[in-house]
């Protein structure tokens, strides 16, 4: 994947790294089982602090999206989403949709934009293994 981070913007670097990787998983660029650079390698390649990348990878690990391995680095996980995820994400989505409505977008516009964005993502893999 191509990972670009805005160094002078308002979004923290670790958040940008985490967000870009999540998007790459959704578009299929980083399918389950594929490898990411190790924390040390990514920090070196972006020229940023090791702890920044560590924080981003740790977030992904806690979300269950990435498995960290001493030897092989980071692998994209292939698990099923937990129930807590859907509830928490729905709450965040409510805020995002409310923002759009408050700023004057119509429900049709919101749905149309959502559809376009989703069509850019890869379809979910056919069979998913249960995580222990």
């Amino acid at each position: 994947m191509l990972l670009t981070v805005d160094v002078a913007g308002t979004v923290p670097l670790y958040q940008q790294i985490r967000d870009r990787i999540v998007e790459a998983i959704a578009t299929g660029e980083q399918p389950p089982g594929s490898a990411l650079p190790s924390i040390r390698q990514l920090a070196m390649d972006l020229g940023i602090n090791f702890h920044t990348v560590n924080k981003a990878y740790d977030m992904l690990r806690q979300e269950g999206l990435v498995q960290l391995n001493r030897k092989t680095g980071a692998i994209i996980a292939s698990g099923v989403p937990g129930d807590e995820f859907a509830a928490e994400w729905t709450a965040r989505l409510r805020t995002l949709l409310a923002e759009a409505m408050a700023q004057g977008l119509s429900p049709e516009q919101i749905l149309s934009i959502s559809r376009d964005t989703l069509s850019g993502f890869a379809p979910p893999p056919p069979a998913r293994d249960e995580k222990p």
Binding site: L2, D6, A8, S34, A35, R40, Q41, A43, M44, N49
Partner: protein, 356 residues
């Protein structure tokens, strides 16, 4: 013959120094980072013109002076080209920096840093096969020396002057007989280790075109590393030839002396030919992939002292591509860089002591 071997390096240094601004990325003229849309600015073009004509004229004058002038003048001329070029570089740099600050060239631009993770998921493989000739020559040196040792005279000539007459003798000993071997081992080991380190370090990535710039860098590293290994093989061959002269297996005449000067120069020329074709970090190679993003590389001038020396405590990299130059340099904020330098100095001191 002697005139040619002193003339050629002078011309070579001058030509490469003169062409250097054309071999580096257009977004870092004279070590100043500028956004891509400012590459054609009048101040940038003017400074490049001034540098080229000044250094070019000095090169021509130096080469002519080296040819017609007395022999003692040649080293002075050869050494003078680089400081003069540095002065031009400093002036050009100052002009561009002040224009950049006055015009606020980075206003409104999104500054980013980017990477293509295929650099790590499909890493470039070290060209071990190209290191074999050096190892073969090393082995040949050891074997030949070991076989020849018993037939060597008690007084060994280990240095010859420019006319081929021996001017330094030592008593026979393994350390004396193998005086050419230690530099061979050292240089070969040093270059291989540094190249291995470079293969693990990061590419020169342009945030405006991460995929294309990484691909060009791959091709650059691939070719340049092979060029370096060829040069090292030729340097090793030169030292084998010098050892053969010491062991009296090869006569010390103008042909063999000429060969010891010519072989390393051939190696350097080949390497520079690669650099001319690829440009630093592959910038002169055809891009595969258009500029894909609307961001620009971040302005990291403050980490490049004088545009030449990289010092960045927040960067975990030890080895980084040069900004104004071909090849790589150290991140001098990293302790490992100093450790490596100390090890090199230590090894050189050890070799000099062994050769006594």
């Amino acid at each position: 013959m002697i005139t040619l071997t002193t003339l050629f390096p002078v011309a070579l240094v001058g030509v490469m120094t003169c062409l250097l601004p054309a071999l580096v990325a257009p977004t870092v003229p004279f070590g100043v980072r500028i956004p891509a849309d400012r590459v054609g600015e009048p101040v940038v073009r003017r400074q490049r013109r001034i540098y080229f004509w000044t250094v070019g004229t000095v090169t021509v004058a130096a080469t002519v002076g080296a040819y017609f002038g007395p022999l003692w003048l040649v080293p002075i001329i050869a050494v003078a080209i680089v400081p003069i070029a540095l002065v031009c570089y400093a002036f050009a740099r100052r002009a561009i920096k002040s224009a950049k600050a006055a015009g606020n060239w980075y206003a409104g631009l999104t500054q980013a840093t980017a990477t293509d993770t295929t650099w790590r998921s499909q890493p470039l493989r070290f060209p071990w096969l190209w290191a074999l000739p050096s190892l073969a020559i090393l082995l040949a040196t050891v074997v030949t020396g070991a076989v020849r040792y018993s037939n060597l005279p008690d007084r060994l000539a280990i240095h010859f002057n420019a006319n081929g007459v021996a001017d330094r003798y030592v008593s026979r000993s393994p350390a004396a007989a193998f005086v050419g071997l230690w530099p061979q081992l050292f240089i070969t080991a040093l270059v291989v280790v540094l190249l291995l380190l470079t293969y693990r370090s990061r590419p020169e990535t342009d945030a405006a075109d991460p995929a294309g710039s990484t691909d060009r860098y791959r091709r650059f590293l691939s070719r340049f590393a092979r060029g370096i290994l060829v040069m090292i093989a030729l340097v090793n061959a030169t030292m084998l030839l010098a050892s053969l002269q010491i062991w009296q297996l090869v006569p010390v005449n103008s042909s063999t002396i000429g060969l010891t000067s010519a072989l390393p120069i051939v190696g350097v020329v080949l390497l520079l030919a690669v650099a001319l074709r690829t440009g630093q970090a592959g910038v002169r190679l055809n891009g595969r992939g258009a500029a894909t993003t609307s961001v620009v590389n971040r302005d990291d001038d403050r980490y490049w002292k004088g545009g030449l020396i990289y010092v960045n405590r927040g960067d975990p990299a030890v080895v980084v591509p040069r900004r104004f130059g071909i090849g790589w340099t150290f991140n001098f904020a990293h302790p490992l860089a100093w450790l490596i330098l100390a090890a090199i100095v230590g090894a050189i001191v050890a070799i000099k002591t062994l050769s006594r």
